[in-house]
Symmetry: C2
DNA sequence: CTTGAATTGTTATATTATTACATAATGTAA
DNA sequence: TTACATTATGTAATAATATAACAATTCAAG
């Protein structure tokens, strides 16, 4: 087991530490973005008791591209692509706050075009599209 | 002067209240985004002494589209277009943090195309492009 | 003038995030 | 292996950002 783990490190990010795994797991199983202190509350049972333990795990996961921060909501969401550490795009429902990550492939061509046309030399981008989600439209 | 002022209210947003004007003025004369508490510090001399006075002015100005919040920096910047209350786009230097608002016209066509192509029904957007600004490139 | 909406002032408090410091685990090169 | 650097941990304290609650005031519309 141990040897398997270390062998696959890079591919599967099994190199995550205990705290990082716990936090990532919570986010991956959440249907909505979570706030740091709400994560903390949820993980008190797992032995995480200080904000810093959460923030440190979040920082690392974000750098790895495994999660993203929705800045306008001070919330964190698991990456639904494949570890996009640099470019992100979300839709955010203006009514209920529901957030979805847009698939890289859907956008990247269009965004690249946009960038070229405007002669911008971009190292990274974050796009937030505000919408009315299906649920909220019908209500 | 006074009569001119009241006559042009709507066009020039002279209807702003005292606090709102003071805060907007500070932001318009700033070369960089400012944080709420730094605004508070700067305006202690003008009689503004509580965070809430600042936040309330900022909220109002943001709704009017006269300023924007850079969420990832918890900072505020005066609008450099004409009161774009809904759609915003910025470049943010990854090195020095320098922020510039992109002109609406530069982007809007391209963004609209992008939205159409992806069949999104967007009510509003905020685009953050991270760059290396000229200064930081050469250093 | 008077009524209702918006704005203000003030205190207290909630929420989000980091500093500082001591310790332990892990990786790596001699 | 030892030794050294790097990374992660735990904990307490505190900084930075933002809002709640309430009383008082301003100010335009009827």
């Amino acid at each position: 087991m141990a040897s398997l783990k270390s062998h696959n490190k890079k591919e599967q990010d099994l190199s995550l530490t205990k705290n990082q795994k716990i936090v990532l797991n919570l986010l991956q199983n959440s249907s909505e973005p979570l706030k740091a202190y709400s994560i903390l509350d949820s993980l008190k049972t797992e032995g995480l008791k200080s904000p810093l333990q959460i923030y440190r795990a979040l920082d690392k996961l974000e750098k790895l591209g495994k999660i993203h921060k929705i800045e306008s909501k001070n919330s964190f969401i698991a990456c639904s692509n494949s570890n996009c550490a640099r470019n992100t795009a979300f839709t955010i429902c203006e009514s209920c706050g529901n957030v979805k990550e847009l698939k890289n492939n859907y956008l990247s061509d269009g965004v690249n075009e946009l960038i070229k046309k405007n002669k911008m030399s971009i190292t990274r981008y974050n796009l937030e599209f505000y919408v009315l989600c299906k649920n909220c439209k019908t209500n």
